[in-house]
């Protein structure tokens, strides 16, 4: 197989305040190869975005703290890099697309300047060359280069997200992290943007971490999936593993709670209860208060992450105890 570009091991991130400690990311591990894409799926508060911020070195400190683990990118542990070197990587080799295109662009800079800014920062080139590169990037994402001198408010939501993608890809990063890139967009525009991301990812051979709660979007874009719940990966496998052979009760529940557009259903299946407060996580399996299959062992003991096939792992007591 291709070379491993990212290796996250046992990542733990907390937010510590005077009143409470929020256990946002607990023991998250995954790897990514060059050109591969992984989907981090989960509900609000599962720790998906914090994981991404951890990789980018952008966890707000204080109150955020990376308390354990390692993030190897191209053989270097990002957690041990000084900020100066991290700044070279961030935006250059790793870049990020944020959820809300309306707020992630600077309203008082033209889109051309915003793309050129990142190019200038990471390359020793002249302003004129950077501007040329900005115009090329705009064309790449389907915006006429003539709009280089327009301001963000002159663009629609879908167009703004294209600009954000142009900024993220301007330095041909090796890893792109996209945090809910299409959630704020209409479905026909979402289809356009996903198609664009797929095309550019293939062209640049970029690795992709896609953070989303939309299982449909993951099915379109990703090779691998990690289902995140209460700061832990509870199921991990290839797209095929997760979509055709899902094992964890939560993963099954997540799929079942979606209204099926191809079938008639009287009433939706529901996962009872709500996501636990990350400042006050249950003991044992973090999902046990909502699980239909929970036993006493689930309520007290930490749950091992069990490998059930070469590519597929589950964090659930029902699958033996052979730890990964």
């Amino acid at each position: 197989m291709a070379e491993k570009i990212l290796d996250v091991q046992n990542l733990e991130i907390r937010y510590v305040t005077d009143e409470e400690t929020v256990y946002a990311v607990n023991d998250v591990s995954f790897t990514l190869e060059r050109g591969e894409s992984i989907g981090l799926v989960g509900e609000t508060g599962a720790g998906k975005t914090t994981t991404a911020l951890g990789i980018m070195g952008l966890v707000p400190d204080p109150p955020g703290e990376i308390v354990g683990g390692s993030i190897f990118f191209d053989g270097q542990d990002l957690l041990k890099l000084p900020e100066k070197q991290m700044r070279v990587i961030r935006g250059g080799k790793i870049s990020m697309i944020f959820q809300d295109p309306m707020t992630s662009l600077n309203p008082v800079m033209t889109v051309g300047e915003q793309i050129a800014e990142v190019v200038l920062l990471h390359n020793k080139i002249s302003k004129a060359e950077a501007r040329k590169r900005a115009m090329e990037m705009l064309e790449q994402v389907g915006i006429p280069a003539a709009r280089c001198d327009d301001y963000p408010h002159q663009f629609s939501g879908g167009m703004k997200q294209r600009v954000v993608i142009a900024i993220a890809l301007a330095c041909s990063p090796e890893l792109l992290i996209a945090d809910e890139p299409t959630t704020a967009l209409d479905v026909t525009i979402q289809a356009q943007v996903l198609e664009l991301m797929r095309k550019l990812q293939a062209e640049y051979n970029t690795s992709l971490i896609l953070i989303t709660h939309d299982l449909g979007v993951v099915a379109k874009v990703c090779d691998k999936v990690a289902v995140v719940y209460a700061g832990e990966i509870i199921e991990y496998g290839t797209l095929e593993d997760i979509y055709t052979d899902k094992r964890h009760v939560y993963t099954v529940g997540l799929f079942d709670s979606l209204p099926d557009i191809e079938k008639e259903t009287a009433s939706l299946k529901v996962i009872p209860g709500a996501v636990p407060d990350p400042a006050n996580l249950p003991k044992g399996c973090k999902f046990h208060p909502r699980c239909t299959e929970a036993t006493d062992a689930c309520r007290n003991e930490p749950i091992p992450f069990v490998k059930i096939s070469e590519t597929h792992s589950v964090r659930c007591n029902r699958f033996g105890s052979a730890e990964v």
Binding site: E43, T44, S156, G157, G158, M159, D186, V187, T188, I189, Q190, A191, Q192, L194, E195, H213, D214, L215, G216, V217, V218, A219, K220, L239, E240, Y243, T244, G253, L254, F255, S257, L258, P259, D260, I261, E262, E264, T265, S267, L268, K269, V270, I271, A274, V275
Partner: protein
């Protein structure tokens, strides 16, 4: 079954500096009591404005609104207050639609106070607690403030507030789009149960097609202020005739492994609803568009029983 709501050629235009914005432009439909009409479309298609005009939260520009057999197009303020007992709304954003300085109990009980429904404070509290029970809010949340609740519970508060006066019609404006899928399923089930128990009529406004299919009896697809297709829910998902509806449904990413990739990717984006011309409004993005589409506006035509489509070439495109 009686028709509880009928709108005829309803229009809402806003005057802007650039010209007249046609937010809702000639919408006609009827809803049977106890049924759900889903109104689907993308941002800016006028679906929220439509819901608001029906409730008189915006004044209409032209057209008729008939509720319960009575023409309510032009009613006095006093009459309107009376009407609103029967017509309620659940808003999209459970974070913004609850007063942060009122407790859950006060928020849900406020309509009772406004309509002087209860003789005593105890009676009011009793009614509030009953309604909280109906929507599945634990009694201990009575004295809590909205910020102490999660999104799903907040949306239950909004639902309880809409229900407490026992309305006949509820306009639901994207009631689940701010919620996580597992919570979304809980709220959708709740709404459907309540509908059965109380014979409620819903006008369900959303951009989420799988949600609308699940909850609606009839579906109306809107584009730039106009209805482009209307049919029974099962019919529209089996046969879409309008090119826009086809693209819209094909664009839904399915949560399936190796789902067939037959997406129709539309070019461009929704055009401006300001100063529209007599033409098919979808023509600039339509793959089948012909010169005629840019010069004359198609009629909403009944293609098969109860299935209406607004397209000049609907028969050619679909081989009918």
């Amino acid at each position: 079954m009686a028709e509880i709501l009928r709108v005829e050629n309803l229009k809402k235009h806003f005057n802007t500096r650039k010209g007249v914005l046609h937010a809702v432009d000639g919408v006609t439909f009827g809803v049977q009591e106890g049924e759900t009409l889903g109104i689907v479309g993308e941002s800016g298609c006028g679906k929220s404005t439509l819901g608001r005009v029906i409730l008189h939260l915006h004044e209409k520009t032209a057209g008729k609104i008939i509720f319960n057999g009575e023409d309510i197009s032009d009613v006095s303020q006093a009459k309107l207050k009376k009407l609103r007992e029967d017509m309620q709304i659940i808003f999209q954003d459970p974070y913004a639609s609850l007063n942060p300085r009122m407790t859950v109990g006060d928020i849900i009980g406020e309509p009772l106070k406004i309509y002087k429904k209860c003789e005593s404070k105890e009676a009011l509290q009793k009614k509030v607690r009953e309604t909280m029970d109906v929507v599945g809010l634990a009694e201990r949340t009575f004295h809590l403030y909205p910020h102490e609740l999660d999104g799903g519970r907040r949306q239950r508060v909004g639902t309880a507030r809409a229900l407490i006066l026992d309305p006949k019609l509820i306009v639901c404006d994207e009631p689940v789009s701010a919620l996580d899928v597992s919570i979304q399923a809980q709220i959708l089930n709740l709404m459907m149960d309540l509908q059965k128990e109380r014979n409620l009529t819903y006008l369900f406004i959303t951009h989420n097609l799988s949600v609308v299919k699940h909850i609606s009896d009839d579906i109306t697809v809107m584009y730039l202020g106009q209805m482009v297709e209307k049919a029974k829910s099962s019919e529209i998902f089996a046969h879409q005739y309008h090119p826009y509806t086809k693209a819209l449904i094909s664009a839904i990413p399915l949560p399936k492994f190796n789902a067939p990739d037959n997406q129709i990717i539309l070019k461009g984006e929704i055009t401006s609803p300001i100063n529209v011309t007599k033409s098919c409004r979808f023509a600039p993005r339509c793959i089948y568009a012909k010169p005629e589409c840019f010069n004359s506006e198609p009629e909403l035509e009944e293609i098969s029983k109860d299935h209406f489509v607004k397209c000049h070439f609907v028969r050619e495109i679909n081989g009918l």
